[in-house]
Symmetry: none
Subunit: 245 residues, 2 copies
């Protein structure tokens, strides 16, 4: 079945264009209007951009990398201290592309000039869709949690219990992370395999079980009678009783 979600209408989505070329601003504006974005603001330089950012609080920014009075990257960092507004970068081909690739762009995207209208709207939609939906964005800090007396830190991949400290292996880590993300809910074998191996599963069935077993040996007081990492026959596994720290 479908689900009902509340989301901003495309007509209500405020966008800010930051570029020093008036012709390009006009063009982008036009493209966006045709696409249905009705609230579009534009700024020619950093100063103006900052002002509009503060007063209008846009839902997305289209930002030129090089601006007359500063750097697009620096500007983005400033925006980001205030909010998680998604940013789509504009850059001249070759000139800035390498720099862009090198950056930790996170949920953002970039587009090189010149571009097709279609390209712009495609990437913009994709960028916006990441923030308008309740998707967990790239999280720098991984969770630390507790299963009864056992403490688990996904930053270091360590499990601490009365027995001492153990380290999770790569597969164990991937599995536990996935289970924790969906804690309380059933996670199918397929999804777990995908999380740990990536590709489509052939004969993973048993391999998964063995890894689950090893994980249980590390996180369960009594691996053969699990209390936290439960099997749901025919459906998958689920993690219960996890207390966030």
């Amino acid at each position: 079945m479908g689900m009902v979600i509340t989301m901003k209408d495309i007509f209500d989505c405020k966008l800010l264009i930051v570029d020093d070329e008036p012709e390009l601003r006009r063009m982008v504006n036009e493209i966006l209007r045709r696409e249905g974005f009705m609230k579009v603001f534009s700024a020619a330089d950093c100063k103006q951009a900052r002002r509009l950012m503060a007063s209008e609080k846009p839902d997305g920014v289209i930002l030129d990398v090089s601006l007359p009075d500063g750097d697009g990257f620096a500007l983005m960092r400033d925006f980001r201290t205030e909010s998680a507004v998604p940013v789509l970068f504009l850059s001249a081909r070759d000139e800035d592309e390498n720099r862009l690739l090198g950056l930790g762009l996170g949920a953002d995207d970039y587009i090189t000039k010149p571009f097709l209208p279609r390209e712009l709207t495609l990437r913009l939609r994709a960028v916006l869709s990441r923030t308008y939906f309740p998707v967990i964005l790239k999280q720098t800090e991984k969770p630390v949690f507790r299963l009864g007396e056992i403490e688990i830190d996904l930053n270091s991949g360590s499990v601490t219990s009365h027995k001492g400290q153990l380290t999770l292996t790569a597969k164990e880590f991937a599995l536990l992370e996935k289970l924790y993300e969906n804690r309380g809910n059933i996670v199918t074998g397929d999804r777990l395999c995908q999380a740990a191996w990536g590709d489509d599963l052939y004969g993973y069935e048993n391999t998964l079980m063995v890894h689950i077993r090893r994980l249980r040996e590390k996180i369960e007081p009594e691996p053969s009678a699990p209390r936290y990492l439960l099997t749901v026959r025919g459906l998958g596994y689920k993690l219960t009783g996890a207390d966030v720290i």
Copy 2:
């Protein structure tokens, strides 16, 4: 203001890949899986494509322009007489590009081989978004509802009542999910069997009853005098009194 829309979950979105190269089918399949599209079918030729189109009724098609037994364009026109399914064309660079541009593609898009995974998913999202609107949601969220004093969470497959917490088995889960989807309406035995077992239904009559009984034992205060999961003699079963949470 915002708007409320009903959208299909990305996991419920069925896609059909039509291409004669097995390796490409496999690759596209893989890309889509990673992106979260779980229901992907593939066909090697027009004949197979038509069959899958009729039986699965996919929500989107990724279609090679040239196929061993016919033309992708003709195939698309055929599809379109039945439904408004969005089509994303695949074509060899240069070879078919001009033809594609010359066509009145309408709401569709195309992509030339070879392509980057990112390109495929971007364009696919865009194509789908026209029918589903802003699309894209990574995490499937199943319903949580209440039957009187009993709370049911289909994410965790758990039933909570004054007696404590029980877990549904695979069959119980499938049946209850189907009944909930059609809550208030009668669901025939055939349809329930199909939901829980698949296409082939032989002599399930009694087996179904047994499973219904077991389900009632978990969700009914008094299984022998059901208040929520009712029998409709000669027709099937129906779920009533379900309050969405």
